[in-house]
């Protein structure tokens, strides 16, 4: 029997993202011991019972020195405080990665908190469904076939990036790399903006006196377009603020696009409308989720 690739991992946050990471590495026989930290004692107890973690950590300073890998799987807003707490105690060979869905803000926290140990942090964004949450939703195959985007820092060694990539690949993920700025620009366009637009449409209708009448005639197009408007308000508030600059830029481009469509509509420009719709349809019909 060979030794596991990671003798000890420490996860902060034992919910869907952190719990599934631990379960996946266990299933791959890639981990020795898993220690869990978190704000909720109930979640940690549940994570113990579900076999996600071996122990509930009591003292982060004492646990991170001999860890091979640390995963920050809390909301992004809590990560800076955790980084500050563990920074002085990190072992020389300990690597850190995270599960945050925005990256520029995580990277800013890394530079602010980790000092000389910046090179040990390899940021990551696993693109995995967030409809459910909590330890009870964690599953060993959550990441199988899913995308994980690493946004390595200039300070990271090739070996550190390769080792963090290995961890996510052992979870079954398809790993790619972008810069943190590329990452945030891409996700502003294809994820954050659509969420904002969907929230905006439903909020707009919610203000109307006749909203019940309107909704009684809404059908499948509305259903799909607004599915993401039922997402978590807190989580999306944080994502929008964390990726504010890129999202504002996308929003301005989109408002400009709508203004042009409005002008074409007001002018009765049939050819322009049809060409716009046709360009969209060709791109969308030719796209399949990878």
């Amino acid at each position: 029997m060979t030794a596991p690739q990671f003798k000890k991992i420490v996860i902060f946050g034992a919910g869907l993202i952190g719990g599934s990471f631990a379960l996946a590495l266990r299933k791959a026989n890639a981990v020795g011991e898993v220690v869990g930290f978190g704000r909720s004692e109930t979640t940690l107890q549940q994570a113990m019972q579900l076999g996600i973690i071996d122990r509930i950590g009591q003292d982060a300073a004492a646990e991170v020195g001999d860890a091979d890998l640390i995963l920050l799987a809390t909301p992004v807003g809590q990560m800076a405080e955790i980084m500050a707490r563990i920074a002085p105690h990190l072992g020389a060979l300990t690597l850190i990665t995270d599960g945050g869905s925005t990256k520029s803000d995580v990277v800013a926290a890394v530079y602010a908190q980790l000092g000389s140990k910046v090179a040990q942090f390899v940021p990551a964004h696993p693109i995995a469904g967030a409809e459910k949450s909590g330890a009870g939703a964690a599953q060993a195959d959550l990441y199988v076939g899913k995308k994980v985007v690493l946004t390595p820092l200039p300070e990271n060694s090739a070996e550190s990036v390769a080792r963090v990539r290995q961890a996510w690949e052992l979870c079954g993920a398809v790993v790619s790399e972008l810069t943190p700025q590329q990452h945030d620009a891409v996700f502003a366009a294809v994820s954050h903006l659509p969420h904002l637009l969907s929230f905006a449409l439903v909020h707009d209708l919610a203000q109307r006196d006749n909203r019940d009448l309107l909704l009684s005639f809404a059908a499948s197009g509305f259903r799909d377009f607004t599915r993401i408007a039922a997402s978590s308000p807190e989580m999306w508030r944080d994502i929008c603020l964390a990726n504010r600059e890129a999202l504002l830029q996308e929003l301005q481009l989109y408002i400009a696009e709508l203004t042009q469509m409005s002008a074409a509509l007001a002018a009765g420009d049939a050819a322009r409308l049809e060409q716009t719709f046709r360009t969209a349809r060709e791109l969308r019909a030719g796209w399949t989720e990878q």
Copy 2:
């Protein structure tokens, strides 16, 4: 054996909407003879083979005088010409309905073309999926449980409205009534605007040099939000132009909503963003397609 409710119906357009109407009335034993007209001889031949129509009509003037019911199931843009052609020959008891997804324009054509016979036209909008089209897609149960909105005219008698309602109910539809203006305002908000917004997002991305990179990271939120951007460009060009006034008004309200969200985002107003998202989520999470 009782006589069928409709001894003879004439359908203009034997595709999904018209063909399904005929098949449904046949299945309900509610129709004697079905005569079909259309631009495409191939479609009419196919409709014959599929048992949708009994005969291909040769001379509309000769067929509409003794028809109980006429359905206009062509694109809305072709309806005025058909109305002009049949108006002089309509029997005194012949009723007409239609399957157009906009109503103000159909009603305008009715007033322009039918003269003293306006009262015989009871406009309708069946809310039934349009992913497929053609006679081959027609099915007897297309309308079962689906909504059909009648937009009666002041000139229609209660009996005429009741008889057209009966026809759609025999198809299995759930029939409601709105004024043509209410109809177009409602559908501008819950259907036409979302389609325009979805087309706009994909068109916006299609202009980018890095569109392939962007689309490679698009996931399930994008998939659902943009599903309707793969809709027919010609059909949506026509719907947008036909419902131009109501749609322009919705578009202006939506741009104002986005401008407010943009301001909240630029100001870092977390509370405002969260409240907006929460209002949307509560409405959307509490809604189920009827």
